[in-house]
Symmetry: C2
Subunit: 363 residues, 2 copies
Amino acid sequence: MRIVLATLMAMLLIGCADNDSQSTVTQVAQPEEMFKWKLVTTWPKNYPGLGLAPENFASKVAAMSAGRLKIKVYGAGQLVPAFEVFDAVSQGTAEMGHGASYYWTGKAKAAAFFTSVPFGLNAQEMNGWLHYGGGLELWRELYDEFNLVPFAGGNTGVQMAGWFNREINSMEDIKGLKMRIPGMGGDVITRAGGISVTIAGGELYTAMQTGVIDALEWVSPYNDIALGFHQVAKYYYYPGWHEPGPTLELIVNKDALASLPADLQAIVETAARAVNQDMLDEYTARNNEALVSLVETHGVQLRKLPDEVVAELRNISEDMLEELADDSDISRRIAESVKAFQKQATAYHAISEEAYYQARKQK
Amino acid sequence: MRIVLATLMAMLLIGCADNDSQSTVTQVAQPEEMFKWKLVTTWPKNYPGLGLAPENFASKVAAMSAGRLKIKVYGAGQLVPAFEVFDAVSQGTAEMGHGASYYWTGKAKAAAFFTSVPFGLNAQEMNGWLHYGGGLELWRELYDEFNLVPFAGGNTGVQMAGWFNREINSMEDIKGLKMRIPGMGGDVITRAGGISVTIAGGELYTAMQTGVIDALEWVSPYNDIALGFHQVAKYYYYPGWHEPGPTLELIVNKDALASLPADLQAIVETAARAVNQDMLDEYTARNNEALVSLVETHGVQLRKLPDEVVAELRNISEDMLEELADDSDISRRIAESVKAFQKQATAYHAISEEAYYQARKQK
């Protein structure tokens, strides 16, 4: 139990002459409370991209608060296992967590909507929906009963469809395919006749090498090249239909956040916003470099999923999203909000971002 | 002249019992300096989207600094005219400015690269280049001789090609076209045989209505609908080849920035980063809504620029970018940096973002 002592302070008014527009007025000094927080994550400590975001966040917060809010980042398993991050922050074992909302569908099914759903919003659209389309308010409502306040905490951009040792020429090739693909993407593969397998990141290379699995999806070139999948897989397929704009999350224990003075609360919120963009910036730069290396140095065979397969996977996904929407009142409201946003975003991006990508390469 | 007084402070060590991980340690109190800054902008006060970013920035900084750094935002003409923002901040008349780097090509030609160049990077790519591709370092080098430190301060996403009262079916239709289109886009139109006209935003509606101009580009649906261009123009063309990822800038007087304690410097930097993303989020959400209103309520005729026209405009743009690169050593280094980044980004986005847009609508 914490004992808060009443503080007595000798106040000293300090005069200050000021003839300048950049004025220097000296405030009455106040004793300042210091906070030491723990941030638990679902990633290995310092894992490239994903795992650097919480470190980046903690460092920005420390700098902006002049050390008044110090946040120590724990990798998966250092304080709690990866998949206990949600509970640990909910219960206050740690004040913050970094991970992905779709890991917590066992707690609240609708959490799936806030990472990425198959054939859903891309990064730019997710950020638009969350911050100006009502998405974040719904996310906060969903997490409120768990005593958690979520913030968007990074985005990888469109992922790759994954690494395959079997060519995908039609839906027939999905039948019996043993693939490591978690979340709703995995459910779609299962409904398409494949076998969705859950294997930890560290064991994927061997599983692929020994034929335990025929395919796997991880992230995108920046992360994938580091794990060496190009050494054990023949084909690298695109596009990442299953995770088009994966948003990571920073979750804060609601009581811990409320215990901060207003300036530190603002610092937490703004640092999260900056980190959310920063990760996408990093992937955007590093994916380029890694793809070039994979294709030009390692001779990776890039393959595009056939249109017919993409269309069929999308049909299956739409059915699944409808079922998810039926799960609860809030699930329905989230599904309707994101669907309406996606309809408009798809129309606008067809004539802006998408049309521009085409115009740029017009011969 | 500012007189800084030495301060005398009664120090009081305050004891604190702590049995909790969320520890509460009371720091020795320090007198804190207060700063009042002026931020001048190239936009009308509170102009939707563009003009809200500096207000948003000032509000985040005030909240995070608990009022230690108060920034007052001035609309164009309130303290200095729009096109004197650069000089005002350079000379310290105001500590900060918000605008677009391509307004300052009269000071440094290479400034054009940091807003948007025809057929260049889109928003996601600009942010990747600036923050992880060496772009921001080059921008700082370019502005250093003007005593300015630049930060990315917002992005509108791909703009529209603009409003036209003449159909564009071939390059012949560009000949003699009187169009309001500033910057390099305007130079491209001029080289294509058109007439680039400079008219202030407030006079565009009447100029279009009375036939003084045949065409104009402004921003995108969110801003354009507010100015009522759909009432005086027949066609709304896409895509915005001339400004694919317009980055706005927050510029800070270098001495003013250096005069801040480290925590306030970090607050300025992180608030800029957050605001940079926030604007794109807002446009992404609002453009959708405005486009639907323009097309469904106001019956706007959307038109796509013909492939042949797009290809020819791109050829002209590439020649111009080569000439710009020849302007100076730093111009050459910036041009090479952005060109290398764009080459890789184009390749990667072809199989990620672009391929995904196509996959999402695959029938």
